[in-house]
Symmetry: D2
Subunit: 317 residues, 4 copies
């Protein structure tokens, strides 16, 4: 069971827009220097995924989870329904807000500060402290707020550094969040094709649907544990419309080209009402993977299979 690599890198990317948000910043870390590829903001995660399914874009970068807002069901659910898509890359981006103003504006001049309500909520304390008299105004997105500042509608925007750049604004304050360090995990999704080559520090994402009985999750996790595979994330997903089943979204350490991972996936295929492979890709977080026991390395699998073949042939005990 060799794993076929992907032959070519995508050249046209959808992302959760609009332009100038953190999603575009994250996409920049994927696409490299601007101009070499096309990027296309979409109004929703669903629209970004559709653009890939349609063939209008080769890949889409969408948020999967955020350390402040939590998981992003639109992405999770968008991947498990509809035509198959797989994750080929993950990107972690620190969500660092800046206070963006037109050049020459001082804090004392700021009467109105605009942003997406989530961003305003995450910076509420600092805004009250720095701009005690300013009106706080909701905008459709952090980038939209920056655009409207550039146009003179508002005095300041809470936005990504990329939006300040794009609209010619200055960052009066960086690290504006009340609790800095928020991180969003984005994933790049593509139509199935060859898989990213294993790097030795990979993750595999799956969705598994099991019959809803006591112990079902334990039995499912046992399939990973007996094969020495560590979980990196697990989340039960509501399946309200489907009584009697339970769905889990799971990241494990390892690549489907590792025998222990493919063996566990085969076991899940036998055990689960449904299992969907959502990709194997290089892990991008700073956490080191847990060491892999020798007993579940590819060599151990190969040796065990060779022995069993001899046993079945009657030539070994």
């Amino acid at each position: 069971m060799p794993t076929a690599p992907r032959s070519t890198a995508p050249t046209e990317f959808a992302y959760l827009g609009p332009e100038g948000t953190f999603a575009e910043a994250a996409l920049g870390t994927v696409t490299g220097s601007p101009g070499t590829v096309g990027t296309r903001p979409e109004a929703s995660v669903a629209a970004a995924l559709t653009a890939v399914r349609n063939g209008e874009c080769a890949a889409a970068l969408v948020p999967l989870e955020n350390s402040v807002e939590g998981s992003v069901p639109a992405t999770m659910d968008g991947l498990v329904t509809g035509d198959p898509l797989v994750i080929t890359r993950e990107v972690f981006l620190e969500v660092a807000f800046v206070l963006a103003v037109r050049p020459g504006t001082d804090a004392a001049d700021v009467r109105t500060v605009a942003s997406h309500p989530h961003a305003l909520a995450q910076c509420r304390g600092r805004i009250a402290e720095l701009l005690p008299g300013a009106d706080v105004v909701p905008a459709a997105s952090t980038a939209d707020a920056a655009r409207r500042v550039a146009e003179g509608e508002f005095d300041a925007a809470v936005c990504a550094a990329i939006a300040a750049d794009r609209y010619g604004l200055d960052a009066l304050v960086t690290d504006l969040a009340d609790h800095p360090g928020a991180v969003t995990r984005f994933v790049l999704v593509e139509p199935p094709g060859g898989l990213p080559a294993p790097t030795g520090a990979d993750k595999t994402t799956i969705t598994a649907v099991v019959h809803d009985r006591t112990g079902a999750l334990l039995d499912l996790l046992a399939e990973f544990a007996v094969r020495g595979i560590s979980l990196a994330r697990i989340e039960s997903r509501p399946t309200r419309e489907r009584l009697g089943v339970y769905s889990f979204s799971i990241d494990v350490e390892g690549h489907v080209s590792d025998r222990r991972v493919s063996d566990a996936l085969a076991a899940l295929h036998r055990r689960c009402a449904e299992v969907r492979f959502l990709g194997s890709y290089a892990r991008a977080d700073e956490q080191p993977g847990k060491p892999v026991e020798e007993r579940v390395g590819d060599q151990a699998f190969a040796a065990a299979e060779a022995w069993v073949a001899r046993v079945r042939a009657g030539t070994a005990v």
Copy 2:
């Protein structure tokens, strides 16, 4: 180990404001007829929890998870840090958006439609269909949009029915969401005290922190499985700042006054780096609980303990 019941119901409630949002509607199902209790909108989940910790309010109703937006880390994290609070009740509320206008307004008259960006996103398709020429304008909240419609600033708001009522608006369209059926799960939290009486269909919520090794989650879940306890929800929680540990947020079926549940909690206390009890309360969803095996009923526990006591005394085998 008898369980002490709560003596009195709270009379002053904080909730995630502002007034006129779904949170207030959910609170109405808890507090009963208006006027008998005080309610107090807060600007954030953290502020609502603080009001309870301060003693300014007796309880707070905050969102825990939403079928479209996912889990609410602000609530999860707000419960596990700071002074203890426990969940005493859960409320499921369908998130049904209406298109609210001033009385006498027709769809053809609507030039501007306002709401919180999340609400606008969830109703994008229907708005485009019903109001193809209208400008879509972000607001700080769905209730804020309704207020501004009442004041004449915009023509229509996407909001909860309760906001239309409050501001004297008419619901031109109900069930406006592109994918109806979204549900938010709210929880009522209070300072520790007596526990809600068991009802026979209860949930218990805990947070458990384990050392990050392969199989740690399996071992933790085995403590529930050997005692015949079913999981209702599980989510791994990032603990970026704490290397080498892994945190799980878990709902199980049953009440801590059930022996199988208290026995499992004791086991987790022994096994985990940290475990926090976040409440036992009547389940409010429509899912029936799974049947409890006789072997883990309170009578089976009592009989087993009596036998072991006789064995230890040397009077039984």
Copy 3:
């Protein structure tokens, strides 16, 4: 991994002698009509196994466990040390003792009754009742006692019906045991070669050596449980001379040509300090095997492997 069948049946058999014991009776159920094959009594289990290892005999029938005497370590240990041998058949034989006398002898004439001490112990009560005045004399084997009765040295022997036949004695009493129903399980062992064809009701016997840590057995058994394989027998075996390891002798339901069994054996090969295959063969007891879940049937394995192959090739999710 097809399983190669055995090409020819053995024609020369060793067994635990001497002639006329239950082992010879059991061998008769294997070899069919007398005269078509050679049989050869050996003085010990070790000698019988050696005769097969040497090539002097094609197979040996030796006792593995007895419902009165327990397991037979000489057989267990004899199979796991030395050149490989595998079990190709099991035979259950009821150990029914007769009281054998020379033709014409009445109970009242019996002054001496001889047998192997084990047989005398199992029939003590009936002998005391039937022959209250007789002297009880130990012999080297039940068959030796019968021979000496035939020679006139003693008046009666406690032996197998086959010994009475062989030495021209009459069975004055059958079912002489105080607690009838004792059964001995014999196994036919041969050098490795093709395997007995699966019958749909098979057993597989293995020995597994694991590192001696808490939970090691649980981990080992989990490999069978996740694959839906039932245990038929388990026994921890002392390995005094090898500190820090623990040895188990295990029978499971199923044939190594069943994918779930060969997959579990491969897992044990990876996990255990040592694992030895001791044979797959038709089960001969009256117990029906437990039903096999569809999820672990060969078709489920084949479907899962095909899916995983497509996932690895990038053509399925």
Copy 4:
């Protein structure tokens, strides 16, 4: 749940006779200097157990397993049927055979050598080498052979050193076994009463009967594993007459006065069709017990129970 200690030591002991066998030698290590207690050889394990159940003896020493012959079903089964008895002590005795002769006899003088057939089998090689011309004669027991040598009936006996002493014989050869090092494990059984005090290196023996379904043993062992308890011995026991159930004989490390052990026993009581406590006693083998994790020490249990009690009272989270 304090554990009541035994108040007095027994003063009259039954054992598996006859006098002069290894069982009597083992009993000597229990009773101390001869003459202070009464000892009483019985003709069978069953008779020895009956003598205790009748009250004729205070305790019985019977063999449980032997490194050459395996487990002793008569003891196992004798303990689990009939009135309750518990193991209060275990004794390991090396089975060292001597070649006993009348004083003055040389090897060259030996024409006949007698013993129990098992002993003769275990020394066959050495006898053939040392006494190539001697006739080998079965006796009812090793001690019976020694007695008959003393009486002049035979020239030599294969027996225990204690039998040579008792009958005034000289040990011409010691360590006569072909494979020296065989060990028998005896257990002292008494009627239930207080328990032996825990020593910090104890064993607990139980019998558990479970319903015969795939995974039943795994579930049972999980009760020990979650509580950090190590198995020292496990053996599935045939229960032919009881279809649909499976019986296990198990030794675990630890004393029932250890909370982890009593907690596991309570769990087995809830889970099993039947569980029988067969005693907690000081381990007598040379194997060190495995270290006990702090999380399952008595202090951890006490702390966990105190916390759960506070949680149930509503005063802790």
